[in-house]
Symmetry: C2
Subunit: 341 residues, 2 copies
Amino acid sequence: MKKIVTIGGGTGQFTLLSGLKNYPLNITAIVSMADDGGSTGRLRDELGVLPPGDIRQCLVALSESSQLLRDLMNYRFEKGDLKGHNFGNLFLSALEKIKGNFSEGVEEASKILDTKGRVIPVSEQKMNLCIKLNNGKILIGEKQLDHNKDVRKYGIEKIYLKPTVKIYKKALQAIKNADLIVIGPGDHYGSILPNILVKGVPEAIQKSKAKVVYNCNLTNKKGQTEKFDLDQYVEEINKYIGNNRIDFVIFRHQKPPEGLVEKYEKREGKKSIVEFNIGKKQKRSYRIIEAEVLRRERVNKNRNDLIANTRSFIRHDSNKLAKVLMEILELDNKKAIKKII
Amino acid sequence: MKKIVTIGGGTGQFTLLSGLKNYPLNITAIVSMADDGGSTGRLRDELGVLPPGDIRQCLVALSESSQLLRDLMNYRFEKGDLKGHNFGNLFLSALEKIKGNFSEGVEEASKILDTKGRVIPVSEQKMNLCIKLNNGKILIGEKQLDHNKDVRKYGIEKIYLKPTVKIYKKALQAIKNADLIVIGPGDHYGSILPNILVKGVPEAIQKSKAKVVYNCNLTNKKGQTEKFDLDQYVEEINKYIGNNRIDFVIFRHQKPPEGLVEKYEKREGKKSIVEFNIGKKQKRSYRIIEAEVLRRERVNKNRNDLIANTRSFIRHDSNKLAKVLMEILELDNKKAIKKII
């Protein structure tokens, strides 16, 4: 079986893995440990555990257990001291405490949830994301990205981890042996780059014999990736990895519906939909794969699942993304890919 | 398969079920919903759920899943907002919320934990235990029994539920069809009698064709069952059920070790070890089965299991109790029963 490694966190990786799990693949999801907001942040602070939120989303995506068990993992308590806590996060934190180690806890969770594939923290060390703004101010903690108004006001100069942390040996092994490494989709500064900032990750990706694919984000965030186009995303990731290592970039073939675009521009400013300008560069170190990857069904806010949250309504489609990746792996007929540039 | 129904709650029922599950029996555990202390009490107050604690203990006792999953259900958080909460209680409360109904949540938990047998709340209504003391004062809430000093000082005149609650239809069905109904061991006022106070339970036990066995408690509690002997326990339970319905009483054949007896008398007063005085009554409506049912191994306080808590050190042995019950069901050779009076 072909070995596929995904790198990211959050809802983007949930979407990606939900599609990939339907194919005969050996899947390893590598997940950032930088999250420190919400239920995850409270558990991190109060119990001293590693952040469970993104790991949980990946486990649920890959789980072949009952819908009920998956609903349970996503259940959020609504009242009392437990308010805002996600049951699956408590499950992972309790397992970490019992096993005495986060990654062993995750392995056990994986057995209980009967996952197709492995979920692995990028590092076994706690990660503290530092965000340097264009006004020189330094913010500490991933949650600042979406909750500190200065980010939207001044924009980000760069991000880094302090102290530096080292790649987890199983993540290193997975990257080394992969046939395909898939980066994103996911929050650029919150999920994607924090993985690549981990010592050993860029080197491992550089050395791996795998094809490296980047699922380009569909939308920008004000103050973060404001007005980014496809090339800016790729160049920044390539800068962190080194060696122009990205081979393919998957990009939407069609535009999102006009109404949605307007809604985004109202919230995130002009050019909040990521564009690709073919004439901008003469030569690129990566090939661009245009494909129909947008989710077309209306996202139902009330469904008790992860895709249903309100963060964003322009989203990738799990199955469409997976189909394109299978074509890149040459395991499927070329039907999903519309154009290779 | 013979149908056995156990009635109780807490550690006593955990002990009983842990032994019974090794036999080819159709087991139904009926559990009191009166608990309102600790983690269970907080969930009841804050989330408005039915009390999960005793149900959880029964599910774990009957679970055939991995040791890890059972350890997880008993895991207690040690810090932060979650401090004191038991993971298994959160699990049951989340399932109740998702399914919209406690008993359905318990059924799902039972599937996830792969239990051998069913665990059923005695009622689907919330139970409020009222405790009338000998000085006329009325205390409300099961947790008062062990935490209100007036109980130890004045003693209990009677207990009742206000408002009255009705038996859950599946509990009724189980009692009706049982071959053997086993009451106790368990906290007399906290677990055993609250089940029998539920409207429909005494009538169902009276009508059932089952043999009714009472596992007599081994120790007394100051202010509650102070100086009770075997006959007082049985008479009080018979009074609540009506019709002298208890057929057999299982009682220890040997005394607990002298050192332990002293320890109990120091804490709970004289006669804190339940005695049986054969000459006290000329005729009894129940037969007394003497058997070696005491747990002999030292209870290790540090083991992550339910038997290991410090509430009591004179305990029933799971396997010995089960053996005697199998003999009463005539499914085993008469070896465990020492004497029938």
